[in-house]
Symmetry: C2
Subunit: 499 residues, 2 copies
Amino acid sequence: MGEKYQALRQRLETVHNLNMAGGVLNWDRETAMPPKGDGARARQLATLARLSHEIFTSQETARLIEDARSEINGAAYESNEASLIRVAQRDYDQLTRLPTEFVAELTRITALAHNVWAEARATSNFVTFQPMLEQIMDLMVEGASCLGYKEHPYDALLNQYDEGMTTSLVRTIFEAHRPALVDLIAAVRAAPQVDDSFLHQDFDIEKQRQFGLKMTEAFGYDYQRGIQEVSVHPFCTHFSSNDVRITTRFDPKFIGSALFGFFHETGHAMYEQGIAQDLDDNILAGGTSLSVHESQSRMWENIVGRSKEYWSWALPQLQEYFPQLKGIGLDEFHRAINTVRNSFIRVEADEATYNLHIILRFEIEQELVAGKLAPKDVRDAWNSRFEQFFGMTPPNDAQGVLQDVHWSAGLVGYFPTYALGNLLSVQYYNQALKAHPNIPNEFAQGKFDTLLGWLNTNIHQYGRKYTTEELTQRVTGETIQSNAYMTYLKDKYTEVYGL
Amino acid sequence: MGEKYQALRQRLETVHNLNMAGGVLNWDRETAMPPKGDGARARQLATLARLSHEIFTSQETARLIEDARSEINGAAYESNEASLIRVAQRDYDQLTRLPTEFVAELTRITALAHNVWAEARATSNFVTFQPMLEQIMDLMVEGASCLGYKEHPYDALLNQYDEGMTTSLVRTIFEAHRPALVDLIAAVRAAPQVDDSFLHQDFDIEKQRQFGLKMTEAFGYDYQRGIQEVSVHPFCTHFSSNDVRITTRFDPKFIGSALFGFFHETGHAMYEQGIAQDLDDNILAGGTSLSVHESQSRMWENIVGRSKEYWSWALPQLQEYFPQLKGIGLDEFHRAINTVRNSFIRVEADEATYNLHIILRFEIEQELVAGKLAPKDVRDAWNSRFEQFFGMTPPNDAQGVLQDVHWSAGLVGYFPTYALGNLLSVQYYNQALKAHPNIPNEFAQGKFDTLLGWLNTNIHQYGRKYTTEELTQRVTGETIQSNAYMTYLKDKYTEVYGL
């Protein structure tokens, strides 16, 4: 590698390290910081974000990208060198459209908004969060305008989380499977209902934690390169592929919340841990997109973690941790963890209703960004749409409009990636099955390395080299679509509900 | 305030925020980071240190200091404005002597050295730490040479932790009270010994923690602006006066370790929490010097925390947490926590022997820096000097040369401030007593706000405005000396040991 390429690498490494340091400050804020530490933390994060932005978006970076590109002329598209330059150029184009002061202000406001949201959620009072939401939505509109878009300002926001994704494409994909989802849910509700009451009883939190750690370690999450902590909203974060962390929210009266939260975040974590070590110190570290990231979390949470094969191995162990579950048979347990039920909370929604939660948020976000809905009316819009989609109204704001951390963090345009991740999880898994048909049988022996190895080889190792579309074409030979997901759901619920 | 002063403030705030962010990364490394996260963390810390150093030591900062100085011409010495400029100039002079790459290298090496030290300490094997110590001592010598000194390279290192302190001054102070200390210890050893065996039994760690939190909250540590965590070596750190954190090391078989560790770190923490809020976002935040900082930790640990008055209030409460202590009388308890005993571990040493531990380190560090002692010979030097000072040899490296974190962190010249802090703690406390003679009686009612208020007003609020010497002159009208400390010790041990 030449001198000019090295100069670019060094500059990008500085930016990467500033961003990772910001990640540590965010992690600490969620897991350790005392309540009144907020003001100083907002200032610290603003400084890191401002410096990262200034260094990355300077003319000097543009010059280094140009110079490096000439120097490595002819390197293969998938080489580390060509990929670093390509992704740097893409990020540069995106970020130079956002003024430095805008980025600092967004960082400052969202740092403050986090605690306001947490407090509003704790007291279930949307009104106390509303002024922050107004400020954040103003910034989102300003940001979309800076970033630019062809059809809809929301395109600019979507594109931040999934390169090339558009409002109309998302709408098309959502509309293609929404009727089938509604039909499936109706069929399930017409069938005899499943008893999952045994999942709702007293479960010691420390035992829940121990079991979660044991299972996720078996999946392949390397705890020498990661830790698990507690936070209000579960998440996964990374400061290196050798320092990938997850958080869990425990419910002492329901085992499903922490258990599937563990599996979900572990799917994200194993993606980050699987990124090639030679990409680790620079901007190619990290996943392809949020959609592909979510495909990994949903695969381990649902396709593996709610499969009968996996539980044929895991249930006897769970029963050792929680003797109150002894006597529950495999079929009975499998049905219980695959119950379909209209619920208020997205992160606890089942696979059949989940995408409806996303479609609700997708519609509200679009309207907010287009100025068709005012922040002050979001609670009412949420509640009436929820009634329309699910036939029930959230009893309070904590179970409604305030349930998610995303808006307080300025993450508008992010939600659709959850639904796209669901679709991709099945598309990718079907490819793994084609290569290794024995995979489900291995789950029954507590063996997960064939699947994880396939994911490492075909998806994880590449970091940010490819876009969602490029990766999906490489892995599956097709684009994102909902057919595979709907087939998967129908097969599962036909068995669970005897449709 | 004028435009030029504001420009300086803003630049210094960026530097301050980078340093505080580095502090969060260090805190996380000690309390949360998985073992393999080390390499990336070292790179992140190096980036933050390099940027902070580059921004602070640039010509632009020098120009801003000059401009601001002209602008505020005539502002009082103790004003925020004059103080910020004065301290910025002092830091600038110090730091411009250290090349940017030297600082980055020191940060990188010490980040790596930390885990090597922790591992060497865990396995009690000095040899595995020796190569890191060699690299660090080379850097210390290089640093001293860059910083410059009049008499002894060690002066340059001392000066980093206590502005104006010199090797010969420290030697003079140490020699002034060392013979009296030795005599006192001899007199104590000749007296009937104290039974403190009841402090060494099973003490539930969670209860130790609860009691420590309760007591330190009563002292005045605001846990809305701080947290307590567990780490290998107890410390206090701050990212703002509203985010001040302590760590504790628990011993399930001895209550003294965590208890007095709590009090000690709380003394540091209340100093940081007491700094004026209008100094909080810039480089005047933080304590005067390590010596003055230590005066606060030792005051709460020893003068308050080992006093009979305090325990007349606290002992009945401790007995509620630990019923096995019921039946222990106040005099008996007071004697036990003031036992004098030659021990291997500095942080668990009593007040009479403590400064001898420091003198040992002071001598070894001086010799290392002067090239009179090689790192490979430090274990032997430690053990033979320990034998000479205390009449016994450490049974292993963990209880000897590897016990302290300081060298692995590049903190050479730091130890003497512990002994100076002991001396200052009594000098300051005597002044508080003159102003409020009722203070000890208030301890007996669980009331600590008169003392804390006096400390806030006379010491804490000023942050870094004054040097140790300036502050000590203001508060006591005299310089650092050992007479008050020796009188305090003699009075205490005359009572405890009936001398």
